[in-house]
Each structure stands twice: as C-alpha cells, then as structure tokens.
C-alpha cells in the first residue's frame, strides 16, 4: 500500500506528484461536466418544447424531501471542506470525524432519495407501461397521501394540462419524458454519490491510520473536489427539476 507521502517511481519530487494528481482530478471533472452536459442539454430542449407537461411533472415532486436533500448535501460539502482543512492543519483526529460526518450526510441523502423513488413508484410515475400522470388525480386523495387541497389543485392542474397539451395521451407522453429525465438525471447523480461514498470509506480507513497530515493530504483534497462537484450538480438539478413552475402549483 502507498504509504504517507511516498514518492512514486515516475516522479522526481513530491511537489510534482501532487501537482500531477490535482491536475488529473480537475481534468477528470471537466469530462464529468461534459458527461452531465449531454443530459442537461436534453433536459433544456425538452423543457422548452413541453413547458406545460414539464411544469406538471415538476410540481409532482416532493418539495420538502428535495429541499431537505439540498440542505443535507450543502452541509456535507461543508464537512468535506472541514476535513480538508483539518488535514492541512495537521489535526489528524478531526480528519476522521469530518470525513465520517460527510459519509453520514451522503448516506442520508441517498436514503431520502430511496424514499422519493418509492413514492414515485407508488404514484405510477416511473416511465414504462404503467406510467400514468393522472393516477393521483383520478383516485381518492388518500391513495397518494395528499391533502384535500393538494388533491384539488392537482386535479385542476391536470385538467388544464390536458387542454394545453391537446389531450390526455399527449400530456401523459410528455410527462413521461419529464420523468425519464428526472430518473435519468437524479439516478446518474445518485450513482456518483454512491461512488463518492465508496471513496469516502477508503479515505476514512486511511485517516484512521493517521495517513493524512499537513505534508500529505492530496487524496483528501482531490476526493473533496469530486464530492463538491457532485454537490454542485445537485445544486443545478434541484431548481431545474423541483422549483420551476412551483409558483403555479
């Protein structure tokens, strides 16, 4: 195993090694931006094409859970930054604590995401044969766990949507496109969170052995960069998926 600050054979100095690793991580993040970029482009074009169906789809997401996850994730970025700070200032025990907190918050995020997915599944909002955007509006409010007011709003919104989109079939198709994007984008983001959680676990095991200090902390810094990146993706996803059109709900 690579020990603290050990110099790999291909490098001449530790500085060169650190610079190389950091540049590599930044370039990797550039490729990630392009990767998500394709999805954001697909989203933008379709949102522009079908504002009504996308608005209705967005209003069906759970604002509380989405907002909670946003707070959780921003908090995790803070603890991540604190673990980098702890490593750079040589506070070894704090590194482990902050990394563990980050992992905990990341897990909370993923847990909440599972609850949300389950809810969408129950509401027939997963793309496929059983997809039905009108399911909650056609059934009693209790089936989807809505209050009477929410239920009434949804029925009204769906009725307007059917009119604007030119029929229930069209609305259903375009709403399905919205939820394809919702699951595509948040699913890919969640996948990155899971990878990040694995990396954090690795860091925690290393930190417990006291590997990271003021002279050697490149892995903490670089995995931190990755974590912040995944965080920023969510910062874009949240308003795009949850918030647009919310005022019309």
């Amino acid at each position: 195993m690579h020990r603290t600050g050990e110099l790999y054979g291909q490098f001449k100095t530790l500085d060169q090694q650190k610079e190389t690793a950091t540049l590599g991580m930044w370039i990797f993040l550039v490729t990630e931006i392009l990767f998500f970029g394709g999805l954001f482009l697909t989203y933008t074009i379709n949102r522009h094409e079908f504002p009504t169906a996308f608005g209705i789809g967005g209003n069906m997401l759970d604002l509380f859970l989405g907002g909670l996850n946003t707070v959780v994730l921003i908090a995790s970025s803070f603890t991540m930054a604190m673990s980098v700070w702890s490593a750079q200032t040589g506070k070894k025990p704090l590194v482990t604590i902050f990394l563990s907190l980050t992992l905990l918050l990341g897990s909370v995020f993923l847990g909440v995401k599972v609850v949300e997915y389950k809810q969408k599944f129950d509401h027939r909002l997963v793309p496929g044969r059983n997809f039905d955007v009108t399911y909650c509006s056609k059934n009693p409010a209790s089936v989807c766990g809505l209050t009477q007011k929410e239920h009434g709003d949804e029925i009204k919104e769906i009725r307007e949507g059917v009119e604007l989109e030119g029929g229930e079939i069209a609305l259903n198709a375009h709403a399905q496109l919205y939820f394809s994007l919702y699951f595509g984008m948040t699913g890919l983001h969640a996948l990155h969170m899971i990878v990040g959680a694995g990396l954090l676990l690795y860091l925690i095991l290393q930190a417990r052995k006291g590997r990271f200090d003021a002279s050697y902390n490149t892995p903490v810094e670089n995995i931190g960069l990755y974590w912040h990146f995944v965080d920023i993706v969510w910062i874009f996803l949240f308003p795009l998926l949850y918030l647009i059109n919310r005022h019309l709900a």
């Binding site: 291909q10 590599g24 490729t31 990767f35 394709g38 079908f50 198709a173």
Partner: protein, 561 residues
C-alpha cells in the same frame, strides 16, 4: 552511443537488460504498469480488432461483386457493414496510434520515466478489453444492424438485433479513451524533462495533446448519448422517441458532437507521425514547426463546431446549415497548413525513400484527396446529391484508411527498431508500402465515381451498370489485403531474425532515439536534459552525420518561419 556505425551493422548488440526481458511470465505482462508493455498489449488487441473488422470488409466486397449480391441476405449485409464500422472505428482506429505508439513514445519523447498515471493506463487497457468483449458478444449472438451510428429510433426501438450489448460495449470503451486522453494531457503538462519546453516538444506530442483534448471533451458526450439510447431501449425512457415527444434528431446532434471530432482523434495522431518521419528522411528541420503545432490545436478546436454538416438533409435550419458549412470549410485551413509545411520540408532536402517516408508521402497524397473531397461534402447544395452515396464512403476511407491507417503502419515501421530493437527487411517493407498504396486507390477511387453516379451506401445490391467499378473496387481490396498481411508477417519475423538496429538507425533527432533499442524499463539511465531545438540535424554531432551524410547549411527548426 556510437552514431557513426551504419544501420544494422553487426557491431550493434541488444542491450543486456531492456523492458522486454526485465521480467518474464503472463503476470509480468497482465499486471504491468510500464507504458511500453501496455502499448504492446494494445498493439495485440487493436490488431485483433483490425482483423475482425477486416473480415467483415472482405465479406462486403465479395458480396458486392455482382449487382444482385453474391453471398449474404440483405439482413446479414446490414449487419456486416455495421459490425465493420463498429469494430474498425471504436476498437481499431480510435485507439490505434494513441494507445499503441502514443503510449510507447510520449513519455520517452519528453524524457519521462512513465506516464503520469501508470495504473490508470493499465486500467484503460482492461476497460478496452471489457468493452471489446461486450461488442464481440453482440457480434457472436447475431450482430447488430443499425449502422455504426446507432441512429434512434432504429437502435432504441425497432431493431431486433443485438444492439444492447454493442451499445454497452462502445459506452464502456469510451472510458478507456477518456482515461488515455487524461493521462496524456497531464503527462505533457507535468512530466517533461528539464529543457523540454513546449516549443521543443516533438510534433507527435503536440498532435497527441490536441487529440487528448478531443478525447476528454468529446467522449463523455457520446457516453451519455449512448447511455440515454440504451436506457430508452431497455426501460422505454423516451429521450429520443417521438411517441413521447422526444427528438431523434437530438440523438444525431449529440452523436456527431463526438463522432465528428472523433475523426480528428484518428487523423491528428497520424499527422503527428508524418511530422516525425518527414524531417528524418529528408535530413532537414521541419518547415514551420510552430504553425504545425498550432494547426493541431486549431483542428481540435474547429473540429468541435462542424458536427451538423453530417445532418444537412435532416431538415435543420437553413442558417444553421450555412454556418456549419462555412465552419467545415474553415477546418480545411489548418489541415492545409500542415500539408504545405510537409511539402515545403521536402523541398531541397536530401530525400531517402525509406519505408516510413513512403508511407508518409502516401499519407500526404491520400489525405489531400480525402480532405478536398470533404469540401465537396461541406458544400450545402452538392451534399444533397452526394449525401449517403459511395462518394461519402470513398471520402472518409481516404481520410481514415488512406490517412490514419497509412500513418499508423508508417509509424509502426518508423519506430519498430525502437520497439523491438531490430530492423525489418527493407525491400519487403518498401514493396508492401507500394502495394498498400496501389490497392487502396484501386479499392476506393472507383467509389468516388460510383457515388457521383448516385450509387447509395448501405445497400446490398445495385443496378448492373455499376458492376465494372464495383469489381475494380473488390479487386483493389484483395491487393489491399496483401498490403496489410505482408507487414504482419515480416514484422513478426523481424522480432526474432531482424538485424540489430542500434539506438538510432535512421538517424532521427527525437529524445526517444537517445536511449537504447529496446529501451530500459525506466526509459533513460538518468533524466535527460534537452538543450537543442527540435529536428535540428546541424548542431547534433551525436547523430554522427559527417562527410557525405552531413546536412547542408540549414535553417534552425523554428524562429525564422
């Protein structure tokens, strides 16, 4: 090192220890992190896929001997050209020069011990293999018939062939390409030896730097595009499906956003190879070093904003089409800069027609034809006539086979003494270079005429009046096959029986020629310091060019160009 001895003289011995004999056994190869060994792993695997793709090409050409088609059913024919494209583009052409020659040479050329991330380098080879296995699985379970472009909704809904594993294979393989590009970029930035300034980098490295930019900026986009198409096929997500309001044209935009620059992933490294070969065999610094370097970057940048010229007939907006047409013309400028500079380098040089130079000259000619016919296709009005005809097939084969593969085979010959420590038989090699050139032109030139006459691509049959040209093309393909098989045999033969090459048999000026052939595992005994300009034959007494072989009074590599 004694440079005065003639190439291949009996006085040269192989170094006692080098990267090939440093360790033995399967493990030492499969778990190696040595960039030179990984390059050889890639060499074996891309050669394998070249022959897989070659078999499909052979069947296509045999089938097209008669107007009604000779051997396969129409459905099988669709699969043949699809699998030919998938194997050749994603698993041979894109990794060929970068992953084999680039991997082997970039660290040595800049005076480093290895790439920046040796383990990631090995990982990228394994990712390539996994991707390759998925694609082979698709081929073995019936193949796919979507065309290598995987256009939706055929690929995502209607095709009944093994699309999913092939798309997955190409998706996975993309990460191999991304990691290779990332590794090269970081290596060029942080691993250069003292004195190896940016404008002393060999042009081969510049070309790979530009290629790597495309790899890291383009490949993620094709990855997400194929992922979305795959999700659509597997889970009925509707991104590109008109039933749900999705847009199939969006797939084409995203696809070509990568796949057009991907053409430059194939051609730029070949241009790098040519830029190394030409000065060596004319004993003259390359003309316009900085222009060639900058034009590599120029091609990479402009290459990203021309993609929609593949879609002139999809009904895209007229003004968008005009812009893309103009930008496509623009990319000809840096390409022409290179061709003129290579030609100017040849002018008044002392030219020796050794095998690598034959390939380089072949490259210049074929690339020029391929490039100029590209301008026909970039022309809005003309493209409507030529779109989806054999003219397009001929055009991109002139670029990809006449350009990229010529560059690759030429580069293999040029650096073969460095890779193996031995020389190949020169006469056979020259003969096969000429056979390749003749076979290539015989195969593909008739296709320009066929396309102009209106023969559409991707059809399993054709009107009888096109038969003569099709038979010519198939005859040419047989000659071409000999041109590919010959090097395969004599290069393999030379690994054991070739004359010992010595460190610098040509002689050439790059850093890679200052170490032993084959190099040590660490490339150099001690980190070299560079205090000469690139391609300078005059101020390099160590090259042993004296008396009759001395270069004339020549300008320095750059500064006055």
């Amino acid at each position: 090192m004694s440079g005065t001895k003639t190439a291949g003289s009996a006085e040269f011995r192989l170094p006692r220890e080098h990267y090939l004999n440093a360790k033995y056994g399967m493990r030492s190869w499969l778990l190696t992190t040595d960039h030179k060994r990984i390059a050889l792993l890639y060499l074996a695997s891309v050669t394998f896929f070249f022959f897989v793709g070659g078999i499909f090409a052979t069947l296509i050409r045999i089938h097209l001997l008669t107007p009604e088609g000779l051997v396969v059913t129409p459905e099988t024919y669709n699969k043949l050209f699809t699998m030919h494209g998938v194997a050749m583009i994603f698993f041979f052409l894109i990794p060929s020069i970068p992953a084999v020659l680039g991997n082997f040479l970039i660290p040595i050329m800049i005076g480093a011990k290895d790439l920046a991330f040796p383990k990631i380098n090995l990982l990228s080879w394994y990712i390539y293999l996994v991707g390759g296995c998925f694609v082979l699985y698709s081929f073995a379970t019936g193949g796919l018939d979507t065309g290598w472009t995987f256009y939706t909704p055929l690929s995502s809904i209607y095709s009944n062939s093994a699309v999913t594993p092939a798309v997955l294979g190409v998706f996975i393989n993309g990460f191999s390409s991304i990691l290779t590009g990332l590794n090269f970029l970081v290596t060029v930035h942080t691993m250069r030896a003292p004195g190896m300034t940016w404008f002393r980098l060999p042009l081969f490295v510049w070309a790979h730097y530009a290629t790597s930019l495309i790899m890291i900026l383009g490949t993620p986009v094709i990855a997400i595009t194929l992922l979305l198409a795959g999700l659509e096929r597997m889970f009925h997500f509707g991104f590109f499906n008109p039933t749900y309001g999705g847009d199939p044209i969006l797939f084409q935009h995203l696809f070509w956003f990568y796949s057009h620059p991907a053409v430059y992933i194939m051609i730029l490294p070949a241009m790098g190879v040519v830029s190394e070969i030409i000065p060596t065999f004319v004993r003259k610094p390359i003309f316009g070093y900085s222009f060639i370097a900058a034009s590599s970057i120029g091609i990479a940048v402009i290459g990203f904003i021309v993609w929609a010229h593949h879609m002139f007939v999809t009904g895209e907006a007229t003004y968008a089409a005009i812009a893309f047409s103009f930008l496509s013309y623009l990319v000809a400028v840096p390409s022409a800069v290179k061709v003129f500079n290579w030609t100017a380098t040849l002018y008044k040089g002392s030219v020796s027609y050794d095998t690598p130079l034959l390939y380089a000259l072949g490259f210049i000619g074929l690339f020029t034809i391929g490039g100029l016919t590209g301008l026909f296709l970039a022309c809005l009005g003309l493209d409507i006539h030529l779109h989806d005809t054999y003219f397009v097939i001929a055009h991109f084969h002139y670029i990809m086979v006449g350009g990229a593969v010529m560059g690759y085979v030429g580069g293999l010959h040029f650096w073969w003494p460095k890779i193996t420590g031995r020389l190949y038989p020169e006469f056979l090699a020259r003969a096969s270079a000429i056979i390749l050139f003749i076979g290539f032109n015989l195969t593909f030139f008739p296709q320009f005429i066929l396309g102009g006459l209106g023969m559409p691509r991707r059809y399993h049959n054709y009107p009888p009046e096109f038969q003569v040209l099709n038979v010519m093309s198939t005859a040419g393909a047989s000659v071409l096959a000999i041109g590919y098989l010959l090097p395969m045999f004599y290069l393999t033969w030379s690994m054991r029986y070739g004359k010992i090459a010595g460190p610098n048999p040509w002689p050439a000026t790059g850093l890679e020629w200052k170490t032993a052939s084959p190099p040590l595992t660490e490339n150099f005994l001690e980190t070299p310091a560079v205090d000469w300009e690139p391609y300078d034959f005059v101020h390099r007494p160590d090259l042993g060019l004296s008396g009759a072989k001395a270069p004339g009074k020549l300008a320095p590599a750059h500064g006055d160009d």
